[in-house]
């Protein structure tokens, strides 16, 4: 028992949806109260709704365990119930049913800089924010220098934070949060703020915390961050646990569910395009693929692109990016880097884009975005124009696969010389 840090059983949260919920009218309630005074009073006290509105279970039957020192990543599409789960774990709202047991001191970070007041100085805000996050006055005093050092804003400590740049503000806010010292840390998308360098620093700090043996629950859309930080994953879908277990498996499953919900209708019928429409992509397909856009890694990667334009003889530029399931761009292709790309193209045409056979993609799921510019103005841009899977095959002549998994395969030549 002692190695369990968080135990969740049968957790559910019910909301009432309907136009009346956000601000119920006083007149209606008074009418109700006059008609059934006792019933209304009882219901109000117990927090039940008076009138019959549509029920919506934001979470239902959620159960999982987190061991001491484990880092759990919670992923799921928007509306899957991540935020609700987090709000219950952090006690901001109460569950409708089920229970959560937390063994250890809990720290919650649903936002950086909660309670920062623009009129107060940096120093004052550190104390206020620290106190809100659950640090005692003594703890804040002890760690004050560390906090300031980490944030790098010591010169402006006695300036009201309303005069801070947004970067300084975020840095100070995060460093207070980073010096919180709980046994269980619950973190929402705090990394969605700040510049790339700062995000890296945040992730590094999170990594340190994780390594120091503390239990972390981490919710993020940034699959790269989740993958590098977490060992275990929990995939939520429509308010219940879809899959829990090893983080790699969970992320893989997640990208498959994304595929289910992404627009994969034929290119010609897509309406989620951006651009002025001077040129429209009619067809964009994988060559060498079997059914359902699956291909084996030994085959050549290539695409066919057919287009139709409004004018004749024009200059065009085509950009294609191939992203993996975590959202990292693996290959970015730009037609202006190609020497024999035609200077002018006709009203209708077809491109075949082939990647040399020395290159292959690791097995997994890939998302292709494509954009076409006509005379440097964006004419058509389709996100996830194509989703394809690469399966393991015999990319290397010997038929063996490398022991580890990189992002891609490259044919290589090894030369040996005895010395």
């Amino acid at each position: 028992m002692s190695d369990i840090a968080i135990k969740v059983r049968g957790l559910g949260k019910k909301y009432h949806i309907g136009e009346k919920l956000p601000q119920r009218s006083l007149a209606g309630s008074i009418k109700n109260a006059a008609a059934f005074p006792w019933k209304v009073a009882k219901n109000l006290i117990s927090g039940k709704a008076i009138d019959q509105r549509e029920e919506f279970w934001a979470l239902k039957d959620v159960a999982f365990d987190v061991k001491q020192g484990e880092v759990l990543g919670i992923i799921g599409r928007n509306g899957a119930g991540k935020s609700t789960l987090l709000k219950i774990l952090s006690r901001i709202t109460t569950p409708t049913e089920g229970e959560v047991e937390l063994f250890g001191r809990v720290g919650c970070l649903l936002e950086v800089g909660t309670g920062f007041h623009p009129e107060l100085t940096g120093r004052e805000n550190v104390f206020l924010n620290g106190s809100l996050l659950g640090m005692s006055n003594v703890e804040i005093k002890q760690r004050f220098d560390e906090i300031v050092d980490f944030s790098g804003v010591e010169r402006f400590l006695d300036t009201p934070v309303k005069f801070y740049s947004s970067g300084m503000y975020t840095r100070l806010a995060f460093s207070v949060a980073a010096h919180l010292n709980p046994e269980i840390l619950i973190v929402d998308e705090v990394l969605a703020v700040g510049d790339a360098e700062f995000q890296k620093k945040c992730l590094g700090k999170m990594d340190d915390i994780a390594r120091s043996g503390r239990t972390i629950i981490f919710v993020s859309h940034n699959m790269g961050a989740v993958k590098s930080l977490c060992q275990k994953g929990l995939l939520l879908n429509n308010g219940s646990v879809f899959l829990s277990g090893d983080i790699d498996r969970v992320i893989e499953k997640y990208s498959e569910t994304i595929e289910l919900y992404t627009n994969t209708s034929p290119i010609a019928g897509r309406t989620d395009r951006q651009g002025n429409g001077d040129l429209l992509i009619q067809k964009f397909d994988l060559i060498n693929s079997s059914d359902n856009n699956r291909m084996i890694n030994e085959k050549q990667i290539g695409f066919v692109l057919k287009y139709m334009a409004k004018c004749d003889l024009f200059f065009c530029r085509i950009l294609i990016s191939i992203n993996n399931s975590v959202g990292e761009c693996i290959i970015f292709m730009d037609s202006t880097t190609i020497n024999d790309f035609p200077k002018q193209i006709r009203r209708k045409g077809k491109f075949e884009i082939k990647i040399t056979r020395d290159f292959g993609l690791a097995d997994g799921c890939y998302f292709v975005n494509i954009a076409v510019f006509v005379n440097e103005i964006m004419a058509d841009y389709i996100q996830n124009a194509l989703i394809f899977h690469v399966e393991k095959g015999c990319f290397y002549e010997g038929g063996k696969s490398p022991a580890g998994k990189g992002m891609c395969h490259v044919k290589q030549k090894w030369e040996y010389q005895a010395l």
Binding site: S25, I45, G47, I88, T94, F103, E119, L132
Partner: protein
């Protein structure tokens, strides 16, 4: 004036330092993880134990109060002097209208201006506290939707931050009394009692209204009107004896009647001492406070659901 503010800060710092040693002891205990166990489950019943939690969060209460005090008079020229300017202006108006035209002054042992100021000042402080407390939850909704703490701390802090205003206000009142050569009687020892009663009333109503305000924005329209209406229903600018004897109990139902008349009685030689009816005011005031606290406590678990993001 800023001198007094500094004294208040110094005092609170001392109090806080006294707490430090206790906290250190708590720290050591918490080294063992099994000390911290938390069970989250649906809450339906009222539990008094949760009220004790406010005590555990007293440092946060201190910081929020301190924040409210610091921020209150930022970017104003007169700053905390506004506490005196408003009742002084109203006093001039009422002295002319009631004191001179309506000849209320004849029945009083003290000059009407002092009489009115000793009523207007506590009334202003009361209405200010009431308004601030009512709006406190909404103005702190970003905290409520992001962090857990006993929600009652928010109206409490907003009420406590009025203490600086109280101090400044009563210094102004003392100056007025010296100006009119009125010596306080021995009754002044009861003054803190009336002030506590006033805070309790403001807080009790603040609990009710702030909890309702989260769900019903109607409250925002009611409060300014209520405060105005209530001032004339309370013997602030007129003495309570102009009301016929047989209706006095109705006036005493208003908890502020006891408070305002009591404050005047404790400050200077004033004709109308609090009688039996004062205890009716007192009872209602205590009832408002306790019922407000219970109501607030029952509703606090749904606040975050009404606020949303």
């Amino acid at each position: 004036m800023s001198f007094i503010v500094k004294i208040v800060f110094a005092l609170s710092a001392v109090v806080n330092n006294l707490k430090i040693e206790k906290n250190c002891a708590m720290e050591e205990k918490s080294q063992n993880p099994s000390e911290h166990y938390l069970l989250i489950k649906p809450v339906n019943k009222f539990r008094l134990a949760d009220l004790l939690e406010i005590f555990r969060y007293r440092e946060l209460l201190y910081f929020l109060t301190w924040r409210d005090i610091k921020v209150k008079y930022k970017q104003t020229i007169f700053g905390v002097l506004w506490v005196l300017i408003q009742p002084l202006a109203l006093m001039l108006l009422f002295t002319v209208v009631f004191g001179k035209f309506a000849k209320l002054e004849q029945d009083l042992k003290v000059p009407y201006a002092l009489f009115a100021f000793a009523g207007l000042l506590p009334w202003q402080l009361f209405s200010r506290t009431l308004t601030a407390t009512t709006g406190s939850l909404l103005s702190n909704e970003h905290l409520i939707s992001k962090i857990y703490f006993p929600r009652m701390i928010v109206p409490l802090a907003s009420c406590l931050s009025g203490i600086v205003d109280f101090l400044i206000g009563f210094i102004g009142l003392a100056v007025m009394m010296i100006f009119y050569c009125q010596m306080p009687t021995a009754n002044i020892v009861f003054l803190p009692l009336f002030l506590i009663l006033m805070m309790m009333t403001a807080l009790g109503i603040g609990f009710w209204l702030s909890a309702l305000y989260i769900e019903y924005r109607d409250v925002g329209y009611i409060v300014p009107f209520l405060v105005q209406f209530w001032m004339f229903a309370t013997p602030v600018v007129y003495p309570v004896n102009i009301i016929p004897q047989e209706y006095l109990w109705i006036v005493a139902l208003n908890p502020m009647t006891g408070v305002i008349e009591g404050i005047r009685w404790s400050l200077f030689d004033y004709a109308y001492a609090p009688g039996k009816l004062f205890f009716l005011s007192l009872g209602i005031s205590v009832f408002t406070f306790i019922s407000g606290a219970i109501w607030f406590h029952c509703r606090e678990k749904v606040f975050a659901d009404y606020i949303g993001k």
